[in-house]
């Protein structure tokens, strides 16, 4: 199996009602990613895009993006999910030895269609969809309650996650929701969507696009001076939300175990320098701490209380601000991957010291049904 490295990336500024079309947004990041990797469109072997038909309002949502992503008359495919799945798909194509350089690009313009308008269509149609109160937010509120009753965390702990991430986001120029002086009280007093979730505990949908260039070992050494290596990958998908333990992210735990085994990581708390996780809702960051093995079951709140996951802490989580700082749905996970790459290269505004191993996590589905973990390192 071939080694895979990330040699270039680009992220657009996250905003609401961006003054550009989706094609322009994808074109911008694809061209910028190729420029940062030092490659031309001719060097590209394959291009994978990630977008969602129901958010784009057109079926085969990649069909209009061929020109914009540089995939014209090339090997092209699409992952109908988060951009990190497009990166996974691209990495697998390189590992197979068929291609040397791949582009993975993802985008969502939430302005076109607010994702929360249709989350009830992710439910099964016979029982759950007949109940108009059920949607992504109310189900996440149920999950938060399940987690809180199991772990003893309360609303203030959830608010502390928001405070940490939104303050981190204030240092990130690309972030959408930045609040340098936000307090726990402000988070708790923001608009209540579904108890216990308030507005600031929910990732704000926004417009954005991201792209990464992946390369095989030979190509990476040819094009790039400081490639970031993909050391481990783990992917797992759980069952429908009523058929699983909603209060635990078992699929994330299994995905993380697979990625750790591939990367040779035995003690994640000590061996991982920074983690970028996709927490669409504040409680999911606690659930991720536990599933990723940073703490024992139910001890996620202690990491926040002790400040361990702050940027200066033992295991910084989301120094970029995470999904709570802006959620361009299909690009959110890919932005986590890019932030992890930037941490290893030492290019971020909120830099973790001596960062050599980073973890990036993407989720998809209601209540994080599906989880994908990448372990990145500055050496093989």
């Amino acid at each position: 199996m071939k080694r895979v490295a990330i040699i270039g990336y680009a992220v657009s500024r996250l905003e609401w009602d961006a003054e550009k079309t989706r094609e322009e947004a994808v074109f911008e990041v694809a061209r910028e990613a190729m420029r940062s990797a030092g490659i031309e469109r001719e060097d590209l072997g394959t291009a994978i895009s990630a977008s969602t038909d129901f958010l784009d309002g057109r079926t085969i949502s990649n069909c209009m993006l061929i020109g914009a992503s540089g995939a014209y008359l090339k090997d092209e495919s699409k992952a109908e999910e988060d951009g990190m799945y497009a990166a996974l798909y691209a990495a697998q194509r390189i590992m197979s030895g068929v291609h040397d350089v791949a582009l993975a690009v993802s985008h969502t313009h939430s302005w076109i269609f607010n994702p929360h308008q249709v989350t009830q269509y992710m439910l099964e149609p016979w029982f759950d969809r007949q109940n108009e109160l059920l949607n992504e937010i109310t189900l996440a509120a149920l999950q938060a309650r399940l987690y809180m009753s199991r772990s003893g965390a309360d609303e203030e702990h959830l608010a502390e996650v928001c405070v940490k991430n939104l303050r981190n986001a204030a240092k990130n120029p690309a972030a959408f929701r930045k609040m340098a002086d936000v307090t726990v009280e402000e988070v708790l007093e923001s608009r209540l969507y579904s108890s216990p979730l308030t507005e600031l505990m929910i990732a704000p949908p926004c417009d954005g696009a991201a792209a990464v260039i992946l390369a095989s070992e030979e190509a990476a050494k040819e094009f790039c001076d400081d490639p970031v290596w993909i050391r481990g990958i783990g992917n797992a998908c759980d069952r429908y939300l009523r058929d699983r333990d909603l209060g635990r992210l078992d699929s994330l735990r299994i995905a993380a175990e697979r990625a750790y085994r591939m990367a040779g990581i035995e003690e994640p708390f000590r061996q991982i320098d920074v983690a970028e996780v996709t927490e669409r809702f504040a409680h999911q960051e606690f659930m991720a701490y536990e599933a990723l093995g940073f703490c024992r079951e139910g001890m996620g709140k202690v990491l926040i209380e002790e400040g361990m996951t702050e940027v200066y802490g033992e295991i910084p989580v989301n120094p970029s601000g995470g999904a709570l700082s802006g959620d361009p749905v299909c690009a959110t996970g890919m932005i986590r991957l890019i932030e992890a790459v930037r941490q290893i290269r030492g290019e971020t505004e909120n830099q973790v010291e001596e960062c050599r191993t980073a973890l990036a996590h993407a989720q998809w589905g209601l209540c994080a049904q599906k989880n994908l973990v990448f372990i990145l390192g500055d050496r093989l």
Binding site: E23, E24, F27, R31, G67, Y72, I112, Y121, P125
Partner: protein, 174 residues
């Protein structure tokens, strides 16, 4: 419409609907709006890729082949060629709905009439458009025939100003 909707007797059905009207799209600024605005002067404007020289009508903001932005505008010929065509079955009431209006009921099209849609490539362009082909019998249409643009009597700078295409020369058919 047996091909589109089939009823199954053995399964229970649950109704559901999806509000497609909630979607909104952005068009690239300075491309489609300028293209439609120029209809008022009965001009067809496309974009020109300065790197490969291809012209795109309707305007495209990106040349996929060169992976560059196409910023230059160019007026293209009103004459073109039929690449392909289709002839509809005789129209019935309630079957052709354009922008929410029943075309037959509103009087745009006559009942029993057949519409010809032609894929037209205007001279010098690298893309094609699908337009109604009018003023010709369906039996006389041939792939490769030359056509020219037909404009509304009063052009207002709207998409409907370009009514369609008609044969550029008298068709001699023996």
């Amino acid at each position: 419409m047996g091909l589109i909707k089939e009823k199954f007797d053995k399964t229970m059905q649950v109704e559901g609907e999806w509000n497609i009207g909630a979607y909104r799209w952005k068009a690239p600024e300075g491309y489609l709006d300028e293209y439609v605005r120029n209809f008022k002067e009965r001009k067809i404007i496309g974009t020109l890729c300065t790197s490969c020289g291809r012209a795109y009508v309707p305007p495209r903001e990106i040349c996929a082949r060169c992976f560059t932005e196409t910023t230059e505008k160019v007026e293209v010929s009103q004459y073109g060629e039929v690449l392909a065509f289709l002839v509809s079955p005789p129209l019935e009431k309630g079957k052709v709905v354009i922008a929410g209006i029943d075309a037959v009921q509103a009087g745009f099209l006559k009942e029993g009439e057949r519409i010809i849609l032609a894929m037209v490539r205007f001279e010098g362009t690298a893309s094609s458009m699908v337009l109604p082909l009018i003023n010709i019998e369906p039996e006389k249409v041939r792939v490769g025939m030359k056509v020219k643009a037909v404009w509304a009597e009063e052009c207002q700078g709207k998409l409907a100003d370009l009514v369609g295409v008609e044969p550029a020369f008298e068709v001699k058919y023996e």
